[in-house]
């Protein structure tokens, strides 16, 4: 099931998916499977095992590549987070002595379901990252991307080398200088001026919505768990009306997880995506700053009548880089906007339809139960 809709690769020349994954204690091992007709690859079909850190390495190398400065690099998948179900599993273990066998079994079942949901989510998010890359005309041809897909040895050696080379320097710089530089620069192009205003505002709003959606789904989860304890209790101790509670819990639980999958994930994903777009704006702003500095340097050189040809060449390089970034950036941002609106709309509508369906089910159910209770009283 695809919940977060992005343009999946419809191009049969390079098809990627993650058909399965293993969870070993803290580490998740993804099986990345590729099917391709491109001659740049050694085989037409192959699979490799990859860890989360490998995905991060790939993302970071793409970000650090100068040639891609004018592109929106798809956001890196977040680290798999099993904190919540693991904590609950721990509590379950502690409380095992005080529970009956049936209680314990039922709770364990629920926890395993939650665990599975987190697992599915993380697989999906890693898969989408790769598919975004494979569907991008430039990024799909990246050499490191190919290595990631094909190299059948452990990538950790390469990862270490890369870290030593870049040392995460660029990333840190981006984080701190980002907002200031983007907002401070004097924009010459209307398109980018508008984009900047829009993206900065939209980012803060989507960040707020994401946080509130997360809070809401956490609340929903607690309610569902509460229902669940109630259900176990009623079944085992009192044996009455337990089937009603079970049905209610399933509906509530499904609503909670659907909301989580569709809404919160959607918001979270596009928040990261917008951050990627902002990164592009940043790189362009930096290129503009470099160009302006090179202009100043050229003026100084002309004044001093020293090193004028170097200054001129440097200025030309900066201008060229800036133009390239602007051209590519404009293309990317326009495409991005279109994709985002379509995906957002599709997912929100699907979600609304689901909620209406659940509301109906809920009402139908309680209606029939009311009849049943009356017959018992008579």
């Amino acid at each position: 099931m695809r919940s977060v809709s992005v343009d999946l690769n419809n191009d049969a020349s390079l098809l990627i998916d993650i058909p399965d994954a293993l969870c070993e204690r803290d580490k998740v091992k993804f099986t990345v499977h590729t099917k391709t007709t491109l001659s740049t690859f050694q085989k037409p079909e192959f699979s490799v095992p990859r860890q989360h850190e490998d995905f991060i390495w790939l993302h970071d190398t793409l970000v650090e590549t100068e040639d891609y400065a004018g592109l929106i690099i798809p956001p890196a998948p977040p680290k798999p987070d099993f904190e919540s179900p693991r904590e609950k599993m721990h509590k379950l273990g502690e409380g095992e002595a005080t529970m009956t066998k049936e209680e314990y079994a039922k709770m364990k079942q629920e926890l395993e379901a939650e665990y599975l949901a987190v697992f599915k989510k993380t697989v999906q998010v890693h898969e989408i990252f790769l598919q975004r890359l494979s569907s991008h005309p430039m990024l799909s041809k990246d050499r490191n991307f190919q290595i990631f897909l094909e190299y059948d040895q452990d990538l950790s050696v390469r990862r270490k080398n890369a870290k030593e080379m870049f040392g995460g320097f660029f990333k840190n710089m981006v984080k701190s200088a980002d907002e200031v530089l983007i907002s401070g620069i004097k924009e010459v192009d209307d398109f980018f001026e508008q984009e900047k205003t829009f993206l900065l505002d939209y980012y803060s709003k989507i960040k707020d919505s994401t946080a509130k959606a997360e809070k809401m789904t956490r609340s929903h989860k607690s309610t569902t768990w509460n229902f669940f304890y109630l259900f176990i209790f009623l079944t085992l101790k009192l044996g009455k009306l337990s089937d009603l509670f079970e049905k209610l819990r399933k509906v509530e639980g499904r609503v909670a997880s659907d909301q989580e999958l569709k809404l919160t994930e959607l918001l979270r994903y596009y928040m990261r995506d917008i951050q990627a777009a902002k990164d592009l704006l940043y790189r362009r702003a930096r290129a503009l700053a470099d160009y302006e500095n090179s202009n100043k340097a050229l003026d100084k050189a002309r004044l001093k009548s020293k090193d004028i040809p170097q200054a001129e060449e440097h200025q030309q390089q900066c201008l060229h880089k800036f133009d390239k970034l602007s051209e590519s950036g404009k293309r990317e941002l326009t495409g991005f906007k279109g994709r985002r609106v379509v995906a957002f709309r599709k997912n929100l509508i699907e979600m609304a339809e689901l909620e209406i369906k659940h509301a109906k089910v809920s009402n139908i159910m309680t209606g029939s139960h009311a009849e049943r209770t009356h017959t018992l009283l008579d």
């Binding site: 829009f198 709003k205 919505s209 509130k212 009455k240 009306l241 509508i349 909620e355 139960h369 209770t373």
Partner: protein, 340 residues
């Protein structure tokens, strides 16, 4: 001048003992408490399960306030009205209590004399009273013989039911809290989503999107609000039932008291006989006469108390059987569906 709330009590009956077929009276909350006091005094010691009085305090066992309207007068009055109605239904459904003239008077009489000193008698006060009595009873040295096994088992059941329902109440109460939280968070999200929708580039599509998100979440919020309120009602119902279980325990305690009185009388009789024996030895004719009189007195008491105990036991047995038939259906009335 004191303003107070009066509740309309309407009765429809075919019973001959009432003057009319339909009639209505107005009663204050303290009148209900007064009725309980009279019934408890008269019938409690005989082993009857006297239905517990309605909650006096606003929150009672369910300590959670739900929604902004919870402290509003209309909401409170409605909840109290429901509780009073349940109380009266229990009273009139009891075949023996219905025969009590105080009950008839409560339903029929135009003006009722004011009930006094009813503070100790509602909600937490009631349960505290029962618990104190139970503690006192358990301190007595009670030896069970075979005929008591049935009572022992039933008491076990009642006590275990009490435990379970208290736990159920805690669970439902925390569900109220969670639902309330969820409703707040949903509202907060709806606002944020609306703002996000408006931040979208201004196309008709984006406006439609934000409206969709907002309406959908407002619906969800209303739903949660209602659910929180219904869950609160459910919690109240459970609390009500726990108090009823307390009344059942109370009847067991009365039986114990009757038994103890009988045992004490037997012990006293034994002492008097020993005194008589001693006096026979010492040869004091006047004191001997007194001792013989006392023996006769206590023999009568022993017989009386034994008969009392048997009578109370029989009543408790009948009452408990009657209670078992209705307890679950009463507790899980259609209100249970409301928590959906």
């Amino acid at each position: 001048m004191n303003a107070y709330m009066a509740y309309k009590v309407s009765t429809q009956t075919t019973l001959a003992m009432f003057r009319n077929k339909t009639f209505t009276v107005r009663r204050r909350f303290s009148d209900f408490l007064g009725l309980y006091e009279k019934l408890s005094e008269k019938h409690g010691p005989n082993g009857f399960i006297v239905p517990p009085p309605p909650e006096k305090s606003i929150l009672g066992m369910t300590k959670v306030k739900v929604g902004k309207d919870d402290s509003s007068a209309a909401d409170f009055v409605e909840r109290r009205r429901g509780a009073l109605e349940r109380y009266l239904q229990r009273v009139v459904n009891h075949p023996s209590l219905l025969q009590d003239p105080d009950v008839r008077e409560f339903l029929e009489r135009e003006e009722l004399p004011r009930a006094v000193s009813t503070q100790a008698l509602s909600g937490a006060g009631f349960l505290k009273m029962i618990n104190k009595a139970t503690d006192a009873v358990s301190k007595m040295t009670i030896k069970m013989n075979e005929s008591d096994v049935w009572f022992e088992e039933k008491l076990q059941e009642v006590e275990s039911a009490d435990q379970h329902f208290r736990k159920l109440h805690t669970l439902v109460e925390s569900l109220v809290i969670h639902r309330k939280e969820l409703s707040l968070n949903t509202a907060s999200f709806a606002k944020s989503a609306a703002m996000l929708g408006s931040a979208e580039d201004n196309t008709a599509l984006s406006r439609a999107l934000s409206q969709l998100a907002e309406v959908e979440d407002k619906m969800e919020q209303l739903h949660q609000d209602q659910a929180a309120n219904d869950t609160f009602s459910f919690a109240e119902l459970i609390a009500d039932f726990i108090r009823l279980l307390g009344a059942v325990r109370g009847s067991f305690d009365q039986r114990m008291k009757a038994w103890q009185r009988w045992q004490d009388a037997q012990a006293m009789l034994q002492k008097k006989r020993e005194t008589e024996a001693k006096l026979l030895w010492a040869n004091k004719p006047d004191k001997l006469q007194l001792a013989k009189e006392e023996i006769a007195e206590w023999e009568a008491k022993v017989t009386q108390y034994e008969r009392d105990f048997e009578r109370v036991s029989a009543t408790v047995r009948k009452e408990v059987i009657r209670f078992e038939l209705i307890k679950y259906w009463e507790a899980f009335l259609p209100e249970a569906k409301a928590i959906a």
